[in-house]
Point group: C2
């Protein structure tokens, strides 16, 4: 990949090298209509403007479809299929290549550069897809084990089903927001004394507000209701991957979740990063996840088990005093099931998947304390302080805390394939008249 | 209400008396574009055609908004707010009244009658709303108790949270279908011997396919993320109610549901009736539900606790031999929480609700066996046969079985406020190569 040098200045360390070309939705002060773009270095290439400047003149196959770049979401572009997005990505790589065969498209075309290249600091990013349904899985084995130990002890930490299927639940699509959107601390019912009998809840702002380090993947192919997506087609039915923070209210969750699972504890906000890194960009970084010592059923068996990307993940916590501490470092290989397995399982009943559906991986944790993807796991459900820079400590999140997830594949030499950031700041709970 | 006599022939026993005027989406062989209609007797009044024939000429307030009747869903009409839909409903009642003050609109206007009145047998009904998110609650106390006894014994049948909050979980919006859509038996993982150790699942078509008698309510007002919908505003944030059958795969559910709740067991199909009965039409039938001996927190306290409709519900099972048996008769008063309480609870965290969101009540059961709203409760998880007409028996549903839910309020004399039917037939599972 070292051949992907560009005539365009891509800063060292940029997540958006030519090896990447992630897609997203942007608007600008001048042009507030959201539209499709890709990120290249510290710029966005506005694909609506690029198309208008005849940027796709050398890619005849896309010309009949250029209207998709004027859409406010990636849904229409995604629906064109994996070969089309692969072609568009490769073409953009070619256009930006040092020795581009199409220099008149952008390299030597200052008009086109002016109209379509916008500094990232000047763009506003939006949710990349109109999300139909959002499903959150629980495929981070170490997370499931750590949480299981806390609530059921090490002998029963994992439920008997855990290694046989990617456990998941339906989430709240309307609460998925793009990086940078503030997250308001939720109110709800909590138990002040869980050991009391009878158990009488109180109304309170959440006191155990947590983050969860996850990946999200977008579905790009609709199946007919009643007809599963076979595992061998699942990879091609995914657009790409984003970073995800599935904010969680642990005290609300502990009281509400029996017997039907988490509900209010998870429906007040889920943050995703704005640039969707395509499956094609991730292909060089795919490998095996955690070993599964259970034999999965045939509908979950992948021909190629190298299906889990190696993304170096990092979580930073910035307090309102301005100090930043890296609280988690881990890799996305800490998953027991891949996104194609999740999609095959999700649809095995015939559940109709739609273009723009979002699948969450579940919280990704390593084994060491500082590789755990939630505060709950690091503080052992509030029992231990987490040390921060500047002598501060945290158990759960305070108002004003900002959590930022970064993720990146590869090396600067070959060109990083990164995700930018997934960031959210906690706002104080709204006051409810009692 | 006996004054609501019509010049138009409304058959005795019709669910769609002038006291009702439910809204839905129809298309016809001649005009396949889905559009808004109301049901009156055994006809649909096509509101797009009615508007085109100047049907709303005497209702100036709606004229700027008539385009909503050409939409393929009720979302745009619903977003206009409760006063607008109340006005439209009342106006249509006036137009159909025997002594209508506007006889030239329809009564004496054979052209308008011809263009806008279509026999129900000639219309195809569609999903009434574009559903953003679908949430299923569990507010049928008797159902929760019956199921709890089966799995945890009578002492622990209800979880400690049950009477303090409407327990609910996020469902799968894409799998909600309109009455008449076939339901394919799902495949999935089940345990053939739940007592075995270790537990090893097999791949199988569902062997415990069940129905669930529920009501659904549509949300018509979006709240800003972070800002709850107060209970006193919740009633006005609901459009109306439909019948709902939340098909369930009990064997898949039993294996998969720990610890995050039902997933594949519930995502292969949920059927709703096509005509949405408005909150205004239901108003005369609202009363108290089941008594709650827990003191709910203030955010769930209704000023007027008469908030649960008295809908006489009936479930019929028709086998492929053609015999029909009424297997359940009950009333919707068997709910512990109302839809306004569900909406207030759902949004108390600031969860953003959207126009078109669907809330399910949870399974509605009475106390007697033949008033229970699921087969699971009637057959005690497969232990007992349910007797049908013609010497047939069932435990769970067989391929070819058709389940039809009916629901109706009021009396024929005053004009029935009914829901029509919510119907689905089971198709054989798809074969998956092993």
């Amino acid at each position: 990949m070292s051949s992907l040098r560009s005539w365009f200045s891509i800063p060292r360390g940029s997540h958006f090298s030519l090896a990447n070309i992630p897609f997203g939705i942007i608007s600008t002060t001048d042009s507030q209509k959201p539209r499709v773009a890709v990120a290249v270095g510290d710029h966005a290439l506005d694909l609506e403007a690029f198309a208008a400047s005849n940027g796709f003149s050398k890619l005849s196959s896309i010309q009949a479809h250029q209207a998709v770049f004027s859409e406010p979401t990636l849904n229409a572009f995604a629906a064109l299929g994996r070969p089309v997005r692969a072609t568009v990505r490769t073409y953009i790589q070619t256009v930006f290549a040092e020795d581009t065969t199409f220099p008149d498209v952008l390299k030597l075309n200052s008009e086109a550069q002016k109209s379509s290249l916008i500094p990232l600091k000047d763009v506003k990013t939006h949710l990349p897809f109109k999300i139909g349904d959002y499903t959150d899985f629980y495929a981070g084995l170490n997370h499931a084990y750590n949480v299981g130990v806390m609530f059921r002890g090490p002998e029963n930490a994992l439920q008997p089903n855990y290694k046989h299927l990617p456990v998941g639940y339906h989430g709240r699509a309307s609460s998925v927001v793009v990086s940078g959107t503030p997250i308001r601390r939720p109110n709800g019912q909590i138990l002040e004394n869980p050991a009391a009998d009878p158990k009488i809840p109180v109304f309170s702002a959440c006191r155990k507000l947590d983050m969860e380090l996850e990946l999200g993947a977008f579905v790009t192919k609709a199946n007919k209701m009643g007809e599963p997506i076979p595992i061998d087609e699942a990879q091609d039915s995914l657009f790409g991957v984003v970073l995800m923070n599935d904010w969680s209210a642990r005290d609300i969750q502990a009281w509400e979740y029996v017997p039907l699972g988490p509900f209010n504890a998870k429906n007040f906000g889920t943050t995703i990063s704005p640039w969707v890194v395509t499956m094609d960009a991730l292909a060089p970084f795919l490998g095996k996840g955690l070993e599964n010592d259970a034999e999965v059923l045939p509908y979950l068996k992948e021909k190629n088990p190298n299906s889990i990307p190696d993304i170096q993940l990092q979580v930073d916590l910035t307090t309102d005093s301005g100090t930043t501490t890296t609280i988690t470092k881990t890799t996305s290989r800490n998953l027991l099931f891949s996104f194609p397995q999740m999609l095959a399982h999700h649809s095995i009943t015939g559940c109709p998947m739609k273009v723009g559906d979002l699948l969450g991986s579940g919280t990704i944790s390593g084994k060491e304390v500082n590789s755990r993807g939630s505060l709950l796991e690091q503080n052992e459900n509030g029992k231990k302080d987490i040390g921060l820079a500047g002598m501060e400590v945290r158990t759960f999140l305070r108002d004003g805390d900002e959590v930022t997830i970064h993720g990146v594949c590869g090396t600067d030499q070959d060109g990083l394939v990164g995700f930018g950031e997934c960031r959210g700041t906690i706002e104080a709970a709204i006051r409810i008249a009692k």
